[in-house]
């Protein structure tokens, strides 16, 4: 056989299977994790103007460098070193990092405003580029955690950032976008990888791409599922919210629906005392509670916090200047030099605890929350002492004339400056009406473009209500999910104050009069006149009432009573042109002075009032992270107990083999490599390869060996490691 000398000596580079994926998997994982996180995180902050892909690219490169750095024995300290380095950098450039952090905080506070409806003052910050300093530090530290998590295929290191992202996404701060899908894919991939490593540590390279594709598919399915589920959860969420409200705030005796019109039941008042009122001077009282600003067809809701958030600056300056719409009548009174208010005390006995029940002309400047955007909500207290201006609707019409006449005075000017801003807001937001309601009203109201005076409008409304509705306290309106007004006018044609007030508000809005729906308690003029100064009167559920309010320019919100039995004919007639002794009012032709352009609302130079980040939110986040950590430890502990139980219930042969494996695991974790007991090794060999049963003595010997190994490990580990392996890693009990 002739041999080919040229090929006689052959050398071939050898590559072990899985060598590529030793870095391939961590690279892919870390790239997906950092890209997903940044694509979710960056767009939520308005201060960051750069594209999130830039940061994702930088993050991926940083992760690659850190993966190389953390491979090998250096990994244990690399993570801590990275965090320390990031902290040192932040300390070295503290000013810029702080400024950047405050910018991000301001963005978050803006989001909080849209959710809570409160005003959160922004922090003072430096240059716009400072945000990149804090981003750099955060990115560096985040990449360290991601690199470590990718190498270990363990999401433990990502608990905190994932918890923050999850909480932010659930709260609506972070939007669901491509980053969410990528992040979800990465987590699924990590889980798959972990499962596979457990099953077969020497897994083939080809599975990397299969796993990645599977992970992406799972993520898309999960996210799609959430979207589909989300579309169906709106009704469920509102039901849950309502149930929670009833449980926390309401009593069983509360008879008003608080804006919830769907399937409106009959009115079932009771003698249960709701409020106890004491006043130095009495007049007809409308004690406002719930205020409905947005008509949905099945309910009256408050204005959306995201909508209100656009007016946070305006309301800040209004409140800072002492103007609150709830007490605009009182403010007008003060501006026009009326006599001082009188004292009133209101005690909430069994009325809904969420609202404060205050008269229309109350002085609430010191009672309202200045950080609340909008002035329709007053948070309830058990006991309230306030001041108010006794008055009636005709007197408030007269007040309007007075304001107009005295608008050149400094006080009135100042008042009108604020009132005008609020008025513009009212005309923007309090004319909302649904198309279904418009279609219904068109059948009964004129739809021409003719402008009408307020008096005419009121007359039309009362006429229509008189024709279409019959007052019946026992009437229910089973509207279900259909439009309440349509059901009321076209099917039921009867109702009580809730129905009348809803119809009146919608008709006012139909004619362009800003109006709102109010529930509360009513004390008639007749009842009031019988009361003496300082007398305490109990209002029960029979005094519960719903009414409409419209905005009287220059004055504020005025009740518009349309419910039969409650309409004060004398008030209605007052204001007709030519009535003697009363203000002549035919239609709203009052002309104000040429509009004084208000000064643009500018931020004052210098700090606003001091403000701190809301602590509860930080506590919630910490609690979330802590609970996730505790849950993980509990799961691990349970897993350990189950494993030990399994050993305990196994036969001697299996138990000996499993115990030996457990002992080896402990030795490995403690890096004790030369303490293998020959006797134990021999027992294990016998258990694994012999064909006879093991004795109880052998089992006990192996158990003793395990205990000795545990003791060795405990002696080798310091306190922190013992704590970690026992309570966090749950390696032994």
């Amino acid at each position: 056989m002739k041999r080919n000398d040229n090929a006689a000596l052959r050398l071939t580079a050898y590559r072990e299977t899985g060598e590529t994926e030793k870095i391939g998997y961590p690279l892919i994982l870390s790239a997906m994790l950092i890209t997903g996180m940044l694509l979710v995180f960056i767009p939520a902050f308005e201060s960051i103007h750069s594209s999130p892909w830039v940061f994702a690219l930088a993050g991926a490169l940083l992760c690659l460098a850190m993966i190389r750095l953390f491979q090998g024995r250096f990994g244990d300290t690399g993570l801590i070193g990275s965090v320390v380095l990031g902290a040192v950098f932040a300390a070295a450039f503290f000013g810029k990092v702080k400024s950047g952090s405050l910018m991000l905080t301001n963005d978050f506070l803006g989001f909080l405003s849209t959710k809570t409806g409160h005003i959160y003052l922004a922090f003072e910050t430096g240059e716009a580029s400072d945000v990149y300093w804090v981003l750099g530090v955060m990115l560096f530290i985040l990449c360290a955690f991601i690199a470590k998590a990718s190498l270990a295929s363990s999401s433990v290191f990502l608990l905190l950032p994932l918890a923050l992202l999850a909480a932010g996404t659930a709260a609506g701060f972070f939007s669901v976008n491509a980053g969410t899908v990528i992040l979800a894919s990465a987590l699924v991939l990590m889980a798959l990888r972990r499962l596979q490593l457990r099953a077969d540590p020497a897994c083939p390279e080809g599975s990397l791409w299969i796993h990645t594709a599977a992970a992406a598919l799972c993520a898309v399915i999960i996210i799609s599922g959430f979207f589909l589920a989300g579309l169906r959860t709106d009704g469920m969420i509102s039901s849950v919210k309502r149930a929670y409200h009833e449980y926390v705030y309401d009593e069983d005796t509360n008879s008003m629906p608080e804006g919830y019109l769907s399937d409106l039941p009959a009115w079932e008042p009771s003698n249960a005392p709701a409020l106890a009122v004491t006043a130095d001077e009495w007049s007809k009282l409308y004690l406002r509670g719930f205020t409905g600003e947005v008509y949905t067809g099945t309910s009256w809701e408050s204005l959306d916090t995201e909508v209100l958030a656009e007016y946070s600056d305006m309301f800040y300056w209004l409140h800072d200047g002492g103007f609150f719409a709830q007490s605009s009548i009182a403010s007008a009174m003060e501006a026009t030099g009326n006599d001082g208010p009188v004292k009133m005390e209101i005690e909430n006995i069994s009325a809904c605890e969420k609202y404060a029940y205050m008269p229309c002309s109350a002085v609430v400047n010191t009672l309202m929350d200045p950080t609340l955007i909008g002035d329709s909500v007053t948070e309830g207290k058990r006991y309230e002492v306030l001041e108010y201006y006794p008055g009636s609707i005709p007197e408030w019409y007269a007040l309007q004339h007075l304001v107009s006449a005295r608008q050149s005075s400094e006080e009135t000017k100042g008042y009108l400056l604020s009132e005008q801003q609020y008025r513009d807001f009212v005309y923007e937001k309090y004319l909302q009406i649904t198309p279904t309601a418009v279609a219904t009203l068109k059948k009964y109201l004129d739809s021409d473009e003719k402008s009408r005076s307020l008096t005419d409008i009121r007359k039309i409304i009362l006429k229509v209500l008189d024709e279409k509705l019959t007052y019946d306290e026992n009437a229910s309106v089973p509207s279900g999910k259909t439009d309440f007004l349509t059901c009321l006018f076209e099917q039921e044609n009867k109702g009580y104050s809730v129905s009348y007030a809803t119809a009146a508000v919608l008709m006012l809005r139909y004619y362009g009069v800003p109006s709102r729906y109010v529930e509360g308690y009513y004390l008639s003029g007749e009842d009031a006149s019988a009361l003496s100064s300082g007398q305490r009167v109990i209002l029960d559920e029979y005094h519960a009432h719903a009414w409409a309010e419209y905005y009287l320019d220059g004055v504020g919100w005025i009740p518009f009573e349309v419910t039969p039995g409650y309409v004060d004919e004398s008030e209605f007639e007052l204001g007709e042109a030519g009535s003697e002794g009363n203000v002549a009012y035919s239609h709203n032709e009052l002309v104000y002075a040429p509009a004084i352009q208000p000064q643009p609302l500018e931020e004052v130079s210098g700090p606003r009032m001091s403000f701190k980040i809301t602590r509860p939110f930080v506590y919630v986040l910490l609690a979330l992270a802590a609970s996730a950590f505790v849950t993980l430890c509990a799961i691990r502990r349970r897993r350990l107990r189950k494993a030990l139980e399994k050993i305990g219930s196994s036969d001697n042969r299996s138990a000996v083999a499993m115990l030996y494996g457990y002992a080896l695991l402990l030795l490995q974790k403690a890096s004790i490599t030369d303490e293998e007991d020959e006797a134990a090794k021999s027992l294990n060999r016998e258990a694994m390869f012999s064909d006879h049963e093991m004795s109880d003595i052998s089992r006990e010997e192996m158990e003793d060996y395990v205990e000795r190994v545990k003791e060795m490990c405990r002696q080798k580990w310091n306190f922190l490691r013992r704590f970690y392996y026992r309570f966090v890693n749950c390696l032994y009990l």
């Binding site: 056989m1 002739k2 041999r3 000398d5 090929a7 006689a8 000596l9 052959r10 050398l11 071939t12 580079a13 050898y14 590559r15 072990e16 870095i23 750069s50 594209s51 830039v54 690219l57 930088a58 490169l61 460098a65 190389r68 750095l69 491979q71 090998g72 024995r73 250096f74 990149y132």
Partner: protein
């Protein structure tokens, strides 16, 4: 290696171009900064490599022996004592068969992780027996993007023997018809197996046979004394491999090695004690072979010393040192008939050669790399 570096440069340039275009289009200084980071990273890493390169130790791990034509794994370990990683280790390993002179190179690469060992392996398969020596010809570490190289000096060396596939010739040793009783032709300087003639007396060591114990002397001296037998010249065999006759091809060297080992193996299997000798470029190596174990221990060093063609032949070197070969039988293996053969041995010589013509009395046996097993089926000594 050059291709790898060029590929790394091309990749980096491609990435920089993409990032640069993105930076121009988006007018983002951050993206432009990212583009600068990559070459900066390479530069920093290259500087770090200057320090890392001094802390990298290379070593080979290979099996001591392997069979012909079977692949075996040879591993190059790179122990990084530095706390920072380098990009990659790239090295060229050169493997030389000392016996046949064959040389091959293989390119290896491995990651270099901090404070840890990285490995790169290659499969070695040889059709020829011999002594394989693996050395690092060139070794470099790269920076993280793989753009710049830093040389590593290393004298790592791995050795392994590729054992020959021995065949089994039938060797018939003819004993002379008359052996004088008083034939006292023993080798004066070599001990042997004939206890009737004492070569030397010495103290007992563990491996000595009880038959060698001199009980009388032991009793007198109160310690165990053993005697070494002498080597009767008439019954001694020398198997000598003259490797200096001429230069040989790898196949010829492999064939001669197989023949030599096969003959020695058969003699050992027959229980014959013999002297094994072979020439090296510097001189001759002579070893006493009592059994197969001795033979197996000699083979690696025999293969390690390569064949030489310059200078005097092996037999000339032998005769210069030892004089005439005083053995009962001499088997000489050579590529061609060496000069000085007459002075080396005659009458008791069996020559196995690649060149020349066979003699009818089998004192000269001609073989070729293709037919040596057939030619040596039976040998008459």
């Amino acid at each position: 290696m050059r291709k790898k570096i060029l590929a790394a440069w091309a990749k980096t340039a491609g990435i920089l171009v993409v990032i640069g275009i993105t930076a121009v289009l988006s007018k983002s200084p951050v993206i432009a900064l990212t583009a600068l980071c990559i070459p900066l990273l390479a530069l920093v890493s290259a500087i770090i490599n200057i320090f890392i390169s001094k802390k990298i130790i290379l070593s080979f791990v290979c099996p001591p022996t392997a069979s012909k034509s079977s692949a075996c794994l040879v591993t190059l370990n790179a122990d990084n004592g530095a706390k920072l990683p380098a990009g990659k280790l790239m090295c060229t390993v050169i493997v030389q068969n000392s016996l046949t002179g064959e040389v091959r190179e293989v390119f290896l690469e491995a990651p270099v992780n901090p404070l840890s060992r990285s490995t790169a392996s290659f499969m070695l398969q040889s059709e020829h027996c011999g002594f394989m020596v693996a050395r690092v010809k060139k070794a470099y570490i790269t920076d993280w993007p793989g753009l710049f190289l830093k040389r590593i000096e290393s004298d790592a060396r791995g050795e392994m023997s590729i054992l020959p596939d021995t065949f089994v010739p039938v060797i018939n040793i003819t004993v002379p018809p008359v052996t004088p009783f008083d034939d006292d032709s023993y080798s004066p300087d070599k001990k042997g197996y004939d206890l009737s003639e004492v070569f030397q007396l010495r103290e007992y060591t563990e491996q000595d046979s009880l038959r060698q114990v001199h009980w009388k002397l032991s009793g007198k001296l109160d310690k165990l004394i053993v005697r070494d037998g002498s080597l009767p010249v008439a019954k001694s065999i020398l198997v000598f491999w003259d490797r200096n006759a001429r230069s040989v091809t790898p196949a010829e060297a492999d064939a001669m090695a197989e023949v030599f080992c096969s003959v020695c193996q058969v003699l050992s299997d027959m229980g014959v004690r013999y002297t094994l000798g072979y020439s090296t470029p510097e001189g001759c190596v002579m070893e006493e072979v009592d059994d197969t174990e001795d033979l197996l221990g000699i083979i690696p060093s025999m293969f390690k010393d390569g064949c030489g063609s310059d200078g005097p032949s092996g037999v000339q070197l032998y005769t210069e040192r030892y004089g005439r070969a005083l053995y009962g039988k001499v088997i000489c293996l050579c590529a061609s008939i060496p000069p000085g053969l007459e002075e080396f041995a005659s009458g008791n010589l069996t020559l196995i050669t690649l060149d020349g013509e066979a003699s009818p009395d089998d004192s000269v046996i001609c073989i070729t790399p293709e037919n040596y097993a057939e030619e040596l089926t039976t040998m008459e000594l």
